[in-house]
Subunit: 111 residues, 2 copies
DNA sequence: TTCTATTATCGTATATTTGCGATATAAGAT
DNA sequence: ATCTTATATCGCAAATATACGATAATAGAA
C-alpha cells in the first residue's frame, strides 16, 4: 500500500529522478565538489573533509557510484574515486532538454 | 544517532541538495514536465495525468512548491500551478558553476 | 607471518518519504 | 441553506534513507 510506484513512469523520468536523488544530500554534493575541484582522482582524504564517520562517507560514495555519478577502483587498502563526467554531461543535457530549453518560449505566460 | 547532519554543510550545498531532492522522484519530474510543456498555468488536470491518487499528487505539488520549483495559487476549489523559472535558472547556474564549468579543465585527467 | 593502515560491509536505531483512504475546506451552483 | 466539485490535510502503514560503531577484508610493512 505504500510501495513506490516508480515503475509507472517513463524510463527517462526515472533516470532523471535517480540522478537527482544521488545529489539530494549535502554530503554527496560536497563529495562531488571535492572530486570536481581537483585535476586527479582522490585516493582517500575525502573522509577527513567531511563531518561524518568513515562508514557513512563510504556509504555515500557507494551511492554515488551506484548512480553512476562517480567511478571508483579499489586497490587493497586504497581506493580511488573520480567524477564520471560523461554521466554529468548526459543528465545535464537531459535536464536542459526538459526544462531550460522550454524556458524561452514559456517565459511570458505564467502566474 | 541517526540525525541528519545537514547543518554541518554550507548553505549552497544544502540549497543544491534540496533542489535535487525536490526532483528526486519520477512523479515530480513528470509534474514539472507537464508544467513546462504548456504555455500556461495548469489548473487541475495534473491528477488525471499521473498514476497516483489525488491526495498523493497534492502532496508532491506541495513539496515542489515548498522547494520553490513551482508557484501556485489556490482559488477556492481550483488551484493553479506553474513552474518557477527563476528557481530553475538559479539552480541550473549553480549546478553548472560547481560541475559543468570545471569539466573543461578536468576532462583529461581521470581514472 | 603478524602488524598496520585504509576502505567496505554488517547490524541497528531513528528519521524521512511514499502512498492511500478518509476527511476537511472552500467557492460556486441549485 | 444544501449540494457539488476540486483541492488540501490528517492519520496511518510500509519502505527508504541516514548515521554510527563494530567488524571484515585487503595489501603493504615489519
Amino acid at each position: 500500500m505504500a510501495f513506490h510506484k516508480k515503475e509507472e513512469f517513463t524510463q527517462k523520468e526515472q533516470d532523471l529522478a535517480n540522478f537527482a536523488k544521488a545529489m539530494a544530500h549535502p554530503a554527496r554534493i560536497a563529495i562531488l565538489k571535492v572530486l570536481a575541484q581537483r585535476n586527479e582522482c582522490i585516493c582517500g582524504e575525502i573522509v577527513d573533509l567531511l563531518p561524518l564517520a568513515q562508514s557513512t562517507v563510504s556509504q555515500h560514495l557507494k551511492e554515488l557510484k551506484n548512480a553512476g555519478l562517480i567511478t571508483g577502483t579499489v586497490d587493497g587498502p586504497k581506493s580511488c574515486y573520480c567524477i564520471n563526467w560523461k554521466a554529468f554531461e548526459k543528465f545535464n543535457g537531459e535536464f536542459n532538454f526538459l526544462f531550460t530549453n522550454l524556458k524561452i518560449k514559456n517565459e511570458k505566460a505564467c502566474c
